[in-house]
Assembly symmetry: none
Homo-oligomer: 216 residues x 4
DNA sequence: AGATAACCGAGACGGTACGTCCCGTCTTACC
DNA sequence: GGTAAGACGGGACGTACCGTCTCGGTTATCT
C-alpha cells in the first residue's frame, strides 16, 4: 500500500518488530479516526457508480463522505490512488482460483471471477479512468497494474504449466498471450461495451482452451 | 458526425436539395475558416501525445492552436467528441483488410493493423480517456464504439463466414468472441501495458486461429 | 475607488472622455452582474453586525451572499477594502454639515452625525478591525483614513476659520486638535465602550467649544 | 487575571487560604516552567511590533518563543488575552500621576504618559486588534477596558474634584467627558494616524483645560 | 519510595479559509 | 453570422493554519 502520503496508522504495539520491518509512525500524534477511511471509500464507490470517474473529485468525495478535503489528502495523494483503493482494496481483491486438475474448468472459473469483479458499477466506472491516468506516471502504473493482474497472471502461468505437465495444454503455449486474450475480452465486453453474458464466457473459454489444447 | 452543436458548414451548393434534406445553415454570415479545424485537431493530437487525456482541455487546445475557446466550442460540444475526431477521423479510419482466402494470415493482418493504430501516442492517450467519458452518455457511446470497431467487427464476421465455408474454421465458431479476444488483447498490451511486440501478435493470432480451426 | 483589482465596469459610453480620464475597461468581456455587488456588500454588513470583524472572511461572505469566492476576489482585493466599502460607501458617506453661523450648534450637529454613523452595528464592528489592518499598508491607510475623515476634517477647518472671523472662536485655536478631541471621544464612547448618550454629546461639545471660545 | 483556562500557578503556600479562596491547583503535578511565560510574552511583543496583530497567531508565537502551541494554550485561552497581558501587564501598567495642585500641568503629564504607552510599537499594533476582538465577548471587554483605563479614569475624577475644590475647574465639569476627549484624541493621533507630536499634546491639554476652567 | 498528576515537546488530527486555476458562457467590436 | 478578445460566475484545487488530541518522557508533590 504505497499510496499514502504519510505512513498509515499501524499503531499496534504488539506486532513483532523483529520479523517484519513494520513501517510504523515514529511516535505520537493524534490517531486517525478509523471510521473516516470507510466513509471516504464508500463515498468514492457510490460516486463512481452514480456519476462516473470524470465527475468524481476530492471535493465531491469530501462532500459525500461528510469530511473535508484535507482529510482526504492526508490519506491519498491522487484521485487515481484513492479510486484504486476504493474499488480494488489491495491486495488479494482478486481471489486466486484453485487448480482442480481440469484446465478448461479452471479457465472458465477464472474468467467468471474477473467478470464478477469488473461488472460492479464502481469497477466499470473506475477502470478506464484509472488506465487514462497512468500516462507518464510509472509508479502509479506499477501500483495499479500490479494490483489488478500481476498476482493473477502469475498464478495463471502456474496453472498452465501444470496443465502442460498433465498433457492438457501443449508445451509451447504462451500463458501470457492466453491471459491477455481472456482479460482483454472481458474488459471489452464488461467495461466498454457492457453486454457481457454467460454465453460469452463459455464461448471465450472454449475458443482459448481449444487454441492451446495439447496434441494427442 | 452528430457531434457538432450547431450546423456544420455543409455549404456545398451542388448537393441536391431534393433527394436529401441537407441541413444547410439558414443563410449569410461569415463562413468558418476551414484552416481552423485542422489547427485545432492537430493541437489535440499533439497535446494527447505530450500531456495525456487528463491534462487536455479546451483551454490548452485553444492556446496551442492559437484560437479562442469559443471557437472550439462552436465546433465540438465536448472534450470526448473533439478527441475522438482528432484521433479517429471518422469514418473508415480503420481500413478493412481484404479476404485473401488464408484466414490465419488475414487475422494476423487485422491484428497488426489495429496494433499500428492503437500504438500511435495520441491513440494510446485517447482510448482510456474516451472509454472513461462514456459513462451515462449513450449517444457518445454509440458514436465512439461505432467509429472504433463496428465496421471492422462486421467485416470480420464475413471473413469468418467465408473461412467456415472454406473449412478453415469450424461451423459453430462465434466471430464476436474471437473478435473481442483479439481486440481486447491488443488493447491491453498496447494501450494499458505498453509492451506490445510482433511475437505477441503472432502468438495471439496463432492461439485464436487454432481455437476455431475446423475439424478434419 | 482605487480598491478594485481590475477596473470597475464603468461602461457608460456617454461619459465625456475629454473632461475626465475615466478609467474604463479597454473593451469587451461579459459585464458584471450588478446585483452581485449589492448582495456581497449586504452580506458583509450583516456578518459584521452579527459576528464581528474577526469572524468575517471571504469564505463566510461568499456563503452568505450566495456567490463564490473568486467572484468577490474579482471585486475587492482584501478584507479591509471590502469592509470599508460595505460600511462606508465612499465617498461622501459622511455628509458635511452646513455652516449656520452658530459654531456651538454646528459642532453639536457634526458630533451627532458622527455618532449616528459610528453607532451602526456594522460600523462598530468594522472600525477597530479596519484600524488594526492598517499596519504597514500605507495605501490602505490612506484609503481608509481619507474615506473616514479627511473631507470632514477639512470642512471643519473652514468652519473654525469662519467662526474665528466672527469672533466666536479665538484666533489661535487649532482646528485639528479640536477635531481629534471630538472624533476620538466619539470613537471611544461609541465603538470601544458602547455607552454613548445624548448627554455625552452635549457635554463634549460644550467643553470643547468653551475651550476655544473667543475672548471678548 | 481571569484569563487562564486552567488554574494559574498560584502555588504560593504563604497566601492565606482562609481570607481568600485562592484557586490553587488541586494537587501535585509538574509545575510550570516560569521562564516560558516570559519567553512567550516577549515573542508576542516582538511579533506585534514587526508583523502586526493580524499576522500574530498561536502558531507564530510558539515558533518564535521556541515552544509548542499547546504550551501556550495551557496559559491563555485566546489571542486577545495573550496580547493584552503581553502589552499591558496588568495591573498598574499605567502609573497614576500625582496631584501637584496644578491641574493644567497634571493633565499635560497624564496625556504624555498615555502617549508614551500608546506609542510603543507593540501597543500601536495591539490596541485596534484588541478593540476589534471585543465583539460579543463581555468578559474580555471588561478585562481589557478595565486594564486600560478604569483605574486611570477614576484617578482622573479625583484630580478634577480636587481642582474644582481649588477653583481651578468649574463645578459642573464632567470629568468623564474630559477624560474621553483626551484619551480619544491620543488614540486617534498615536495609534490610528501615527502623527502624534509634543505640540499636539500641548494644544490638546490647553483646549480641554480651558474648556473646564473655573469662572472667577 | 512509590504513586500520582500536571507539565512539556512532538506531532498528527479534522476543519476553516485561503488564493488560484480552469471550466463553460456571455458580451462587445469587428470583419 | 463567425471571429478574436476578454471578462464573467462557478467548481475544484492544493496548502496554510487553526484549535485539539494523544503520546512518551519529565518533574514535582502527596501518601
Amino acid at each position: 500500500m504505497p499510496n499514502r502520503p504519510s505512513a498509515p496508522p499501524a499503531r499496534d504495539p504488539a506486532s513483532s518488530p523483529a520479523e517484519e520491518p513494520v513501517r510504523r509512525r515514529p511516535m505520537g500524534g493524534r490517531p486517525r479516526d478509523p471510521q473516516i477511511d470507510g466513509a471516504i471509500l464508500g463515498a468514492v464507490r457510490a460516486l463512481l457508480a452514480e456519476e462516473g470517474y470524470a465527475k468524481l473529485s476530492f471535493e465531491t468525495v469530501a462532500r459525500r463522505a461528510g469530511v473535508t478535503r484535507p482529510t482526504i489528502y492526508r490519506r491519498w495523494s491522487s484521485k487515481a490512488q484513492l479510486v484504486h483503493e476504493a474499488v480494488f482494496p489491495t491486495p488479494g481483491h482478486a481471489p486466486l482460483i484453485p487448480d482442480t486438475g481440469d484446465f478448461a474448468a479452471d479457465v472458465r472459473r477464472m474468467v467468471a471471477t474477473t467478470v464478477a469483479s469488473y461488472s460492479r458499477p464502481e469497477a466499470r466506472a473506475a477502470l478506464p479512468g484509472l488506465f487514462g491516468d497512468l500516462h507518464d506516471r510509472p509508479d502509479l502504473r506499477a501500483t495499479v497494474i500490479d494490483g489488478l493482474e500481476t498476482r493473477v497472471r502469475e498464478h495463471f502461468r502456474s496453472l498452465v504449466a501444470a496443465a502442460v505437465a498433465r498433457g492438457e495444454v501443449r508445451a509451447d503455449a504462451d500463458a501470457d498471450v492466453v491471459f491477455d486474450a481472456l482479460m482483454g475480452a472481458v474488459f471489452n465486453r464488461t467495461v466498454v461495451r457492457g453486454d457481457m453474458s454467460e454465453a460469452f464466457v463459455e464461448g471465450l473459454a472454449g475458443v482459448v482452451v481449444e487454441g492451446v489444447r495439447g496434441r494427442e
